[in-house]
Amino acid sequence: MQRIINDPDNVVDDAVRGYLRASPSLYAATDHPRVLKYAGETPDKVGVVTGGGSGHEPAFLGYVGEGLCDAVAIGEIFSSPTADAFLDAFRAADRGRGVACLYGNYAGDNMNVKMARQMAEMEGIDVKTVIARDDVASAPADQRDQRRGVAGEIMMWKVGGAAAARGDDLAEVIRLAQKAVDACSSIGIGLSSCTIPANGKPNFSIEPGHMELGIGHHGEPGIEVAPLTDATSMAKSMCDPVLADQDFTGGEVAVLVSGLGATPNMELNLLYAHIADRFEAESITVHRADIGNYFTSLEMMGATLTVMKLDDELKPLIDAPARSLAITR
């Protein structure tokens, strides 16, 4: 395990210290060691909170900033933050106008957010949630409530964060964040595994010469393990289920291709060329494409594709200014 760490059991705390030192204009500490809040001035607005396990950097903490999230709860590697951490993130983000907690559909996160929300209500903090379920590989369309949240969460944060920043009330922020992530269909393709520092051995295995279509962000099983194909075929394997999930034809979309960690950016762009070809063939207009490491799984190789259907309401929120480690526009 070739890592830049000290005690493998303290990786997350040690990294949080680094983030605080490196980006004091973005992050401020809170009373909870696993909660960071935006360091800038936040006007009187709806608070936006997210959280999840570590190991997905820049998610989740990289989306704290201007026009995005106000506070983040940080879990162990690939493990939900505690209910306490979510509660403290709610406290840090609340300006009296309520808190939108925007996170992904994982058992641990669901339970911890649920408990934190109960505790917050007791303190008079109004918390509403949107749970991302954009991974088309994790369940069929008619069981959307079973689906995992993946990189569609980024669209949810962007839209929810922008709505909150312009002064929308909690109900509206929630409506728009929900609309944003409902407009997203995503899929991942895994080319190699990754090693959680505290475990010291690969989390699962993908044989060289193979790939796993539909793999989850922690190595959750995908649709199919198949021999490694070329990028043209991979693009097709990813576009087919995504384009079958919603009717994107003739519309305008935002596209996000994220690396899983160790796949170089040039390969992500190379892959995107084929995705763009396909969209062109289906008369889908790409309003914007973001290609890079936006939601990773430690040092996994592979990529995820997220396609979001845009309309006049979502487009300006996707394009709105933002400043954070992950997105600055």
Partner: protein, 217 residues
């Protein structure tokens, strides 16, 4: 009739802490077969913290279980924090008012824990998780108590239900958690959460039995 005096909270809790801390490596080993091998680390971290926080205090059982619940919720995260946290919080809440527990009240405590846990999770018996231990153990306990068996016999039913339930996970295909990734290949191994749950229930039964008193007839 026999009953448990709830003043023994610290004592009973220390037994729970000890059994988890002692089995730290074993639990991780079980988790290693089809999970990521950290169940012992996660559990021991939470239980040890709780042990430290109650040290030297003499707590009632409800208070002790409540402390365990909040420590787990505040320190473990993941799924285990809220699941075991709710279980012990539900147990704690069910006996808030009690100074003594007879076999029926003890059963209400177990049911309170199970209900709280099920209020927060959709996991089912058969998914290959701690519920596969917890549900049959609580069912067996209640059946024994309802059938009028005495407290020690009911505790024995709890132990046996827990053992049987835990053992049942060996043949199950995991439907939740990391092991679900393995599908068919998850068969043939015990589930780590089911094992920790068995350790906790058996230890709870043992230490309760040690503290049973005969009511002045």
């Amino acid at each position: 009739m026999q009953y448990l005096n709830t003043t023994h909270g610290t004592d009973i809790l220390e037994a729970l802490v000890d059994v988890i801390v002692e089995n730290r490596n074993y639990l991780s080993e079980v988790d290693g077969a089809i999970g990521d091998g950290d169940h012992g680390i996660n559990m021991a971290k939470g239980f040890r913290l709780c042990g430290e926080s109650i040290q030297g205090q003499s707590l009632g059982l409800s208070k002790a279980l409540g402390t365990l619940a909040t420590t787990l919720m505040g320190s473990i995260g993941g799924s285990m924090g809220p699941l075991y946290g709710s279980l012990f919080l539900g147990m704690s809440n069910a006996i808030k008012e009690c100074e003594t527990l007879d076999a029926r009240a003890f059963g209400d405590m177990l049911t309170g824990g199970l209900n709280a846990l099920q209020g927060i999770s959709d996991a089912q018996v058969g998914d290959k998780c701690l519920l596969d231990t917890l549900v049959p153990a609580v069912d067996d306990y209640r059946r024994a108590a309802d059938n009028g068996e005495d407290f020690p016999a009911a505790l024995d039913a709890l132990r046996q239900g827990a053992e049987r339930g835990c053992e049942s996970t060996r043949e199950l295909e995991a439907r939740i958690g990391r092991a679900a990734r393995l599908g068919e290949r998850s068969r043939g191994h015990l589930d780590a959460g089911a094992v920790s749950c068995r350790l906790l229930l058996v230890t709870l039964a043992d230490s309760t039995e040690r503290h049973l008193e005969k009511a002045a007839a």
